[in-house]
Amino acid sequence: MIPVDTTKDADKKDAAKKDDSKKGPAKPEEKPKPPFPGWELDAPKQIADCKHGAGLLGCWFDPSGKWLYTSGQDNVISRWDFVANKRVDLAGHGSWVKSLGFCPGKNLVISGGYEGLLIVWPMEGVQPEPLRQVTAHTGWIRAVAVEPTSGLVVSAGNDGQIALWQLPSLAPVRRWSGHDCHIYQAAFRDNGKEIITADLKANVRVWDTATGKLLREGKPVASLHKFDAGFGADIGGVRGWGANANGDRVACAGITNVSNAFAGVGNPLIQVIDPKTLKVVQEHKSKEAYQGTMWGVAFHPAGFVLGVAGGSGGMLWIWKADQAEPLRTLKQPDNIRGMALSADGSKIAVAQANGSARVLNLKA
């Protein structure tokens, strides 16, 4: 519900009662019109609880919305038929996995692990086994994305390298040094003509896919990064992101106002940028004095924005696209580390630190 000032409402009701006593029988109260008709934003119903077990790192819907994938601190990726609550484990990584991509045309799933392995899996099958794997990076792979038409895969990670691969063989296409610190995000844009990347220090860069040439760069979301001199370390970066359907907005999520890096004391923040100008065009904040990191963000097809955070409890916020203050604040059972929105917008999944992924129905 939209937070309201109940004291003022009580006064208004008293006044209305006095008026009603003069006018006769009271009319039934009209319900306020929902801001997004057809969508349940007040109390989305939980339709599945996928208990992975180990603390979750992330979750992803496949493009059809049939499967939900989860990854956990046990190095395992699980594919869930969440309607039937049936699980199949995809074993192959020797470390944590926080990036997953899909190529629906080829029915493939691509995962990037912290051991530097890129693995291609079949999307279907009773027990998917790795089809192909390469050591793609030195150190953690933090980002994987697929350009569905060309079958190109982009991967990036702690070595600061951006690498392109061709599906289904995972043949190397191109590789270049992209950032001088850990790359946290990478995605295709503009129908695959460009690749956009972001890093620990909140640098955002746009590259020409065909040549690897740097097209644009900036630091529009600098408030998502801080070097904490007391601790002698960088904190923040673009920890989650998502693009809208047109691709003309990219939402960068993370933590800001950090006062104690090693305790995670700061506020979650989403900054939406125009990828052509690399300027911030909108911010989305938490309303309450919440401390933690915004780990995920998504643009909903109906026009609202969803963001999730972990820190002082799990939170799911919903904003109108042009407003900084949230429209809804939905407290979740446990701290959240990632989210997924199904392609049709009907379902959201949240990956919780307690090892469970909740699937919520957003359809009214």
Binding site: G55, Q73, N158, H182, G232, D234, F262, G264, A353
Partner: protein, 433 residues
């Protein structure tokens, strides 16, 4: 009232520190740097002397480094985190993949993997690791640096016996570290690895005038001390001598003359610079050098922060070990890498690890230590020690005995015997050479 030079009062310490904080004008004799160039005959002679002197390098990973991300990895365990274990130069011994350079020096290091200090508070944990004792009412035990300064240091060395290279952000030691040993043996902070302020003789002061000033001061001091000898007055005069010694060794702080390749190897960041300075101080005659790397108190994003911090530590530390070895002084230098405690095997909801003192590790090496040795074992999840449990007292005996000191001897304060190390503990003999 009886006057004791070893009163250990706050005033005592403060007076010394305030004098050492800025080297007062006019204590130098204008002596140029005596730092030996390696390969010269003077350098060779100093090196031979250096090899016979025992000293200590303490690398303090402030905040509590994770044993799981360093010395006792548990890949694949529920608590293991994302990092893998890698082989080292010692067959069968593995370290976290965050320490590839240190792994190549493992044959010069030993691991103590069964520490249970049972103290999760930063200050109290630090106390245990520096003194080998838990806090006790009515007595303050001296830090290892102060003990080494007193027992191993030359009688009239040019450098203070206990030097602490601190990061720019802080992490200094207290002059009270020396406790009843007296402020003479307390630490002198080298903030951010830079030469102390006012280390140069003022330009308008000639060496001759300076010498005359010092003679006058000494005369006044001696006259005063003859009637009113106190800890404070002794500290006062000794501070001038230390300042003079430091001024004569000013060249030690100038690392830019080191070969570019060595500077690269140490790392061109603060900790790399501090490690290189530590080597120069040890080689230049310092008895005890503590270098602090901050910060490892990773309640939040433990893995990202350990990546960042250990990325600095690993190469700098491994280079330092190799450099000490190449210069022939590793065998006479006890190396210790410690924290106030380890971190929880459990990974919290912030991807963090909290304080954990029940099962953690330290690394030792160099003087008196068996290279490649591993003692102690934790269980599969790293939550408890299952073999050869030790605490701070055992470690303290080990440090002292590795240096050839009898850890069962006593300090004497006004004829009252105080055991140097916890009498209920013993040295960890398995790693003593």
């Amino acid at each position: 009232m009886k006057r004791s030079p070893n009163c250990g009062t706050v005033d005592h310490g403060l007076s010394r520190r305030s004098f050492m904080g800025g080297l007062a004008a006019g204590t130098a004799l204008g002596v140029p740097s005596l730092y030996p160039k390696l390969g010269s005959s003077t350098g060779a002679m100093v090196n031979r002397l250096a090899q016979s002197q025992k000293r200590v390098l303490m690398v303090y990973l402030s905040g509590g480094v994770s044993q799981l991300e360093t010395w006792d990895p548990k890949p694949g365990a529920k608590t293991g985190g994302p990092f893998r274990a890698i082989p080292t130069s010692v067959p069968g011994v593995h370290l976290s993949e965050l320490l590839p350079h240190t792994a190549s020096q493992m044959h010069r290091l030993a691991l103590v993997r069964g520490i249970n200090t049972a103290e999760d508070d930063h200050g109290k944990g630090s106390q245990i690791m520096h003194t080998g004792r838990k806090e006790e009412p009515g007595i303050q035990y001296p830090h290892l640096g102060s003990i080494c300064s007193k027992l191993l240091g030359p009688d009239a060395g040019p450098l203070p016996g206990y030097l602490h290279v601190t990061p720019g952000g802080g992490g200094g030691s207290s002059p009270q570290d020396a406790a009843f040993l007296g402020p003479k043996f307390g630490p002198v902070g080298i903030s951010d690895g830079k030469a102390p302020l006012n280390i140069d003789r003022p330009g308008g002061l000639t060496p001759e005038n300076e010498l005359a000033r010092q003679e006058l001061r000494k005369m006044a001091d001696e006259r005063f001390l003859a009637k009113r000898r106190t800890a404070r007055t002794e500290a006062y005069t000794q501070t001038f001598d230390q300042a003079k010694g430091l001024m004569s060794k000013k060249g030690l702080f100038d690392i830019v003359g080191e070969p570019s390749r060595l500077l690269d190897s140490y790392g061109r960041h603060d900790f790399g610079r501090h490690c290189l300075l530590s080597r120069r101080l040890l080689e230049g005659g310092a008895t005890f050098v503590k270098v602090t790397h901050t910060n490892y108190d990773t309640h939040h994003e433990n893995f990202d922060f350990h990546l960042e911090q250990l990325g600095e530590f690993d190469r700098s530390f491994a280079t330092l070990i190799d450099d000490l070895h190449q210069r022939g002084i590793l065998s006479s230098t006890l190396v210790m890498v410690i924290s106030e405690f380890g971190r929880t095997p459990n990974i919290n909801h912030l991807y963090g690890r909290d304080h954990w003192s029940k099962a953690w590790s330290v690394a030792l090496g160099g003087c008196g230590i068996v290279g490649g040795g591993v003692v102690g074992k934790t269980n599969g999840q790293g939550t408890a020690v299952v073999d050869r449990e030790v605490h701070g007292g055992h470690l303290f005996h080990t440090y002292l005995q590795a240096l050839g000191l009898d850890s069962k001897k006593n300090h004497y304060v006004d004829q009252r015997p105080i055991p140097m190390a916890d009498p209920k503990a013993e040295a960890i003999r398995e790693i003593l050479a």
